[in-house]
Amino acid sequence: MTALGYNFGYLDENTKRMIRRALLKAVAIPGHQVPFGAREMPLPYGWGTGGIAVTASVIGADDRLKVIDQGADDTTNAVSIRRFFAKVAGVETTERTGEATIIQTRHRIPEIALREGQVLVYQVPMPEPLFRLEPRVSETKRMHALADYGLMHVKLYEDIARHGHVAISYNYPVLVGGRYLMSPSPIPAFDNPKMDRMPALQLFGAGREKRIYAVPPYTSVRSLDFEDHPFRPVRADAPCALCGSRESYLDEVVVDDRGGRMFVCSDTDYCSTRQATREAAE
């Protein structure tokens, strides 16, 4: 028990056991959504309850936790979730990607390559990649059972016929292990290639929709595309105004009301590390 009167990690042991069983099955069937008995959490659904439930079931006293929202450690919801775990699990927290053992994220994958021994926990609002095409869960379950992803291929094909491109810029569907169509949670398509054969374990928690899924390390994650229209991740064509990076994903910052704008890294740890290195070199 912690000082607050709640169990370590907030969840009771029965709930953790149920989530842990779901996590192991999720890892054993890469990309398949495992339903679980999600509980109400002290944060609202939509604020990352699924990711929090997963982190709470995985985390131990030796872990070092990093929480990001939009790539940044200092966004209010990231701060709030980090404080929650510091309070209910008493774990060490960090903003350094390389030092973290568990990284809980909303909408981004850090820029630096993750390594073995790290766990990336995604907060997922809609786990079902087909939901815009077929809202019925009973139907999409059947499609996954049959690996019948024709609806999605047709959608992509129609995009290309109309626009010359697939018109999906985030939450771009991926095929995991050559079998399951999966929602990468709404990360920008720019981040999709990082999921492929990642050495770290990727866990996904959707609290309101009560699903857990996973991608084991070194597992193929392919963004759906066509031979003559290969997948193309998009980023703003500019260097970061703070660190100069031409590789990182950028936030657009509006600086005045006359169309003035600049671009800065979305990954705050990546950007500040690069700035520090540059200053040290000068």
Partner: protein, 192 residues
């Protein structure tokens, strides 16, 4: 209840540490993990296998085991799981004296392949080595594993288990304080 040996000394951190090892094991098939903080399980239970069941089994997970009445009593008391006589009715199976037929275990359905059994199999030896070459999700290129004490015909049964993916049974091999996992996606070849 007399003579019942204790379970985890400190259940919350012990279960977390054991789960973390299992999660790593399932995510990186064939890697051997050594567990610490193990319970004093009665023979013939391997401490690692006992720890795993204390971590994962409860009233919601029917258990089948061939480990005998003392072990059954211990598991019932510490994990609170119902025991079943039919291997096909179990969520977890703990095989200490042989191996139940994989094809007879719950393999889930095409829609719900996660409703499948996990078989905990106690073996005589488990280490990184030249017996098997493992490939599949979780393995960068290939992983070598040496297992002693498996029944004849295991590899054929395992291949059949993998062939019905996404349905299938997942396997955790245990000996002493060590364990390694083989999820249904892992392919095994005999290393030449």
């Amino acid at each position: 209840m007399s003579g019942l040996t204790p379970g985890f000394a400190d259940p919350v951190p012990a279960a977390q540490a054991c789960f973390r090892a299992l999660l790593e094991a399932m995510a990186r098939p064939g890697r051997v993990h050594r567990l610490a903080g193990l319970p004093e399980a009665p023979a013939p239970l391997a401490p690692a296998a006992a720890a795993m069941l204390l971590t994962l089994a409860d009233a919601e997970t029917p258990l089948w085991t061939d480990a005998g009445p003392v072990a059954e009593e211990w598991l019932r008391f510490h994990a609170g799981c119902p025991l079943v006589a039919e291997p096909g009715a179990a969520s977890f199976l703990l095989a200490a004296c042989g191996m139940p037929e994989l094809a007879a275990l719950e393999a889930g359905t095409e829609e719900e392949p996660h409703r499948s059994a996990t078989l905990v199999l106690q073996v005589a030896g488990l280490e990184r080595g030249a017996g098997w070459r493992l490939t599949g999700p979780g393995i960068e290129t290939e992983h070598l594993l040496e297992v002693e004490g498996l029944p004849r015909g295991f590899l054929a049964a395992w291949a059949a288990n993998g062939a019905r993916f996404p349905r299938g049974v997942d396997l955790v091999l245990c000996t002493g304080d060590r364990l390694a996992a083989l999820p249904r996606t892992t392919r095994i070849e005999e290393a030449g």
